[in-house]
């Protein structure tokens, strides 16, 4: 059959847009991967020359490498197990029981956007480090112990903190699956004479298995990519995982070995891509498997009776540990010259000295400026790109659009530090090396799915007739995008922008590789403070960072709600 010179179903040529985006997104996502591979096969940064396997030999024959792989395995699988169990517990409580305080659950899924991961790790270090962790000091004094009861600088410590960090993600995967669960499946098991526990293990869990597995795999991907926990908690405890090993190769010592880092990075990247493919397959099949009946079944709500108060206390404690404690600890430490337990002496020594030092520190001020610029401006650029990509994915539906969709979700599986090394190999070939543009491009490439996702899901809600009628009314394609599609997408655009901006403001793992003198950003500056043990200044700068993220979420939230009301869409 002759190929229509017009794309199907539209009657006009959308090829230039689709192919332009394909080149752009393909460049952003494939280029760092290709350069990572190339880089791993060459002698040194910037000098490609003859291909060699020397870097692979050096990387994988390292006697310490087996221990690193072991640590990585225990760390990722451990945090995935703890995190999935915790998330399942919370999601089950929220969707299937009459536990009061549902607002706590909403807080649990929004607030993590406001507290950057690195600060969360630091606050746990401040609480539980063996030499002067606040909780350790308190317990030593109260119980008269000679040694600290807790040591955060261990694998269990890393696992605990990582599990808490990834909890919202796992929760967001599990909660919808649980609330869509068809309760008649359980009821028929009860009718057959099975007890509640028997039913839970024989019916509920197996039916939800795809969703549970999906959450589990997602947390593995996250913890494999995690850099905050391995650097702030792992490195002081000399527990190296792949991410921190790569960091050690490129950022510490006198001769950074980018080739060896790339060689290590390829295996992390491969593992991550495999896991993400598995995840996408699971979520696709879970939609079939988990019975979203749509026949108006409401999940049977379990009366908690006596367990209500203790369970509510557990959830409340989790919220406290998760949200209040880190901010409290940082605020407290920012006012003190060194770590000490709260008391008369501490209050006498409190001052704003750390705040004055940080706000006068030129590098801290520069990092603040850079992060704000990247966060606000970068997210705007990122959303512009996401807008066009989402529109092509949802509306054009050609083969090229399908490829564009896959490409744009590829970066979802990129561990930041690994892809940072890939980008570094790319940027040294260009004048972008060492500029804010390098960071900007890296950020947008890595976080593109966060912008595209809210937009595609908003766009499929908008009937194509709304656009087509505008065309028939005499408006061209661009006028239609501006006057019909854009206004209708504002809620999606706002939520995508918040997500991107908060991600950019706190970005760490990509930045530690790409940031150079003059392009310092907040999270990297915090990492430097933590490496130097300057906890007071770190805490002050950290509070500033939390305030920025909170302000972004609040302002954008207010704007989003107002625009919704203006369009009269609030009710729907």
């Amino acid at each position: 059959m002759r190929k229509s010179f017009l794309s199907p179903g539209t009657g006009e040529n959308r090829r230039p847009l689709t192919f332009g985006l394909l080149v752009l997104v393909g460049g952003l996502t494939v280029c760092p991967v290709v350069l990572l591979l190339l880089g791993s096969l060459t002698e040194g940064l910037g000098a490609f020359g003859r291909l060699t396997l020397a870097k692979y030999r050096a990387a994988y024959a390292d006697p310490g490498f087996a221990a690193i792989l072991y640590n990585t395995f225990v760390f990722t699988v451990g945090s995935a197990t703890v995190c999935t169990a915790l998330a399942f517990f919370l999601a089950y409580l929220n969707t299937r029981t009459n536990l009061p305080g549902k607002v706590l659950f909403r807080i649990l899924s929004v607030v993590p956007m406001m507290i950057p991961h690195i600060l969360f790790c630091v606050s746990w270090v401040l609480l539980l480090n063996p030499s002067n962790g606040l909780l350790n000091l308190l317990l030593r004094e109260a119980l008269g112990l000679s040694a600290s009861p807790f040591n955060i600088y261990t694998l269990p410590g890393m696992i605990l903190v990582e599990a808490l960090l990834d909890l919202p993600i796992a929760y967001l995967v599990l909660a919808p699956a649980l609330s869509a669960f068809d309760a008649t499946l359980e009821e028929s098991s009860h009718v057959c004479g099975a007890s509640r526990w028997h039913t839970f293990f024989r019916v509920t869990l197996p039916v939800l298995r795809p969703a549970v597995l999906a959450a589990f795999i997602l947390v593995i991907v996250r913890s494999l990519a995690s850099f905050a926990v391995p650097s702030v908690i792992g490195i002081p405890g000399r527990i190296y995982v792949l991410a921190s090993h790569i960091y050690r190769l490129v950022a510490t010592g006198f001769s950074p070995d980018y080739g060896q880092a790339a060689a290590v990075g390829t295996s992390a990247l491969a593992a991550s891509i495999v896991l993400v493919v598995l995840y996408r397959r699971l979520t696709a099949s879970s939609e079939r498997f988990v019975t979203v009946s749509g026949r108006g079944y409401r999940p049977a709500i379990i009366e908690l009776k006596r367990a209500k108060i203790p369970l509510l206390a557990v959830v409340g404690l989790l919220c406290f540990v998760w949200i209040v404690l880190p901010v409290l600890v940082l605020g407290y430490v920012s006012l003190l010259p060194y770590s000490m337990i709260p008391g008369e002496k501490a209050f006498a020594l409190m001052s704003l000295k750390n705040w004055r030092l940080v706000l006068a520190d030129p590098i801290s001020r520069l990092s603040l400026r850079n992060s704000l610029l990247l966060g606000i401006g970068g997210a705007v650029l990122g959303m512009v790109l996401s807008f066009f990509v989402s529109w092509v994915i949802v509306r054009v539906r050609s083969t090229a659009a399908g490829i564009l969709e896959s490409l744009s979700f590829l970066s979802f599986s990129f561990p930041g530090i690994v892809i940072g090394v890939g980008f570094l190999w790319f940027f040294v070939l260009t004048p972008l090396y060492g500029t804010l543009w390098a960071l900007l491009i890296g950020y947008i490439a890595t976080y593109l799915p966060y912008g595209i996702r809210p937009l595609t899901s908003a766009l499929v809600q908008i009937h194509s007739h709304l656009e087509e009628s505008s065309r028939v009314c005499g408006a061209g394609p661009l006028t239609t995008l501006r006057r019909i599609v854009f206004p209708l997408l504002v809620p999606g655009i706002v939520s995508g922008w918040i997500l991107m901006a908060t991600m950019f403001v706190r970005e760490l793992s990509l930045s530690v590789v790409l940031s150079r003198p003059g392009t310092e950003v907040l999270a990297v500056q915090i990492l430097r403070f933590s490496e130097d043990g300057l906890w007071g200044r770190l805490a002050a700068l950290g509070i500033v960072m939390i305030l920025i993220s909170t302000a972004l979420v609040v302002i954008a939230g207010l704007f989003g709600r107002r625009s919704l009301r203006a369009f009269g869409l609030e009710a729907s």
Partner: protein
Amino acid sequence: MDIRIQGVSRRFLAHGKVIPALDGVSLDIPARSIFTLLGPSGCGKTTLLRCIVGLDAPDEGEIRIGGEVVFSQAQGIFVPPEKRGLGMVFQTYAIWPHMSVFQNVAYPLEVRGLSRDEIRKRVGRVLEFVQLSGFESRPATRLSGGQQQRVALARALVAEPRVILFDEPLSNLDAKLREETRKELRAFLTRLQITAVYVTHDRTEALSLSDRIAVMKDGRVLEVGTPREVYFHCGSRFVADFIGRANLIAGRIRGRDKDLALVDSEIGPLRCAAREGLSPGAAVTVCLRPENLRLLPAAGQGELNRLRGRIETLLFVGEAWEGEISVGAKRLLVQLPAASELREGNEIDLGFVPREAVLLAP
């Protein structure tokens, strides 16, 4: 503005198979009349409409609107929808939810760059025409289905288009409102003296609304004509069955008696109005509409087309009895006067006038 469609084909790829949505369609749509594309879902009527309006492009053929070529595969011409100067009412109405009634209706004029005063004047006039004066500032989401439909109509009319197109505009209304709106729409369009192309799968809608009807099936046009022509003198079994309730009776021509054809059918010998080109021995289908079968007095004799049958099912629907009569092995649909005393199981005599039976190809 007349529309000429010549040899238009449109193929879709679905699951690796090529599906011909339009298969060499040629149609002449006369100016200032209501032209309906009628057919079951999947017959290609909406695809044809989208090709006319420019939201889809054929793979082959040519489309002219008022003499201007808007699509030609041979010449590589494709005029985008916004340059065709048409108006369209969508099945979903496609009212923009972020705009008020006024903004919705003013949109076609705004994108044409008219002055504010002119826009206000023309929107006011068209809203009055569709009886929505006073609703200008109402958010489009706060409208009933019927009101949305009128906003869509006003928006399609406001720029004084050359042609207005309707894609099943009444299918989202409830039955009573649909009937009223149909009457109104017919009055509107006749008053406006505008060319209208109307797509529907509802035969009553097509028959009552149109000046001409094209019946479509599997991407082809089977028949074109006025509603009466299509109803009474349809040329195929499919159209006969689709355009109304019909009894299709198989038979063979035995001979001819002046302008009557004698048919040996599965329910006995019948006399029907003769049709050119059917010689003795040809297999035919006799199409008998239920309302044409009349009750005959039981004792009568010597009438043409007397059928004796047994009432199998009988439903009282108010204005008539509707039921099935078995004549031999064949069951016939009938519509009998409500006043007659009938009971299931009764034996009755039926008859019909020869010119009301249509001979079709088998």
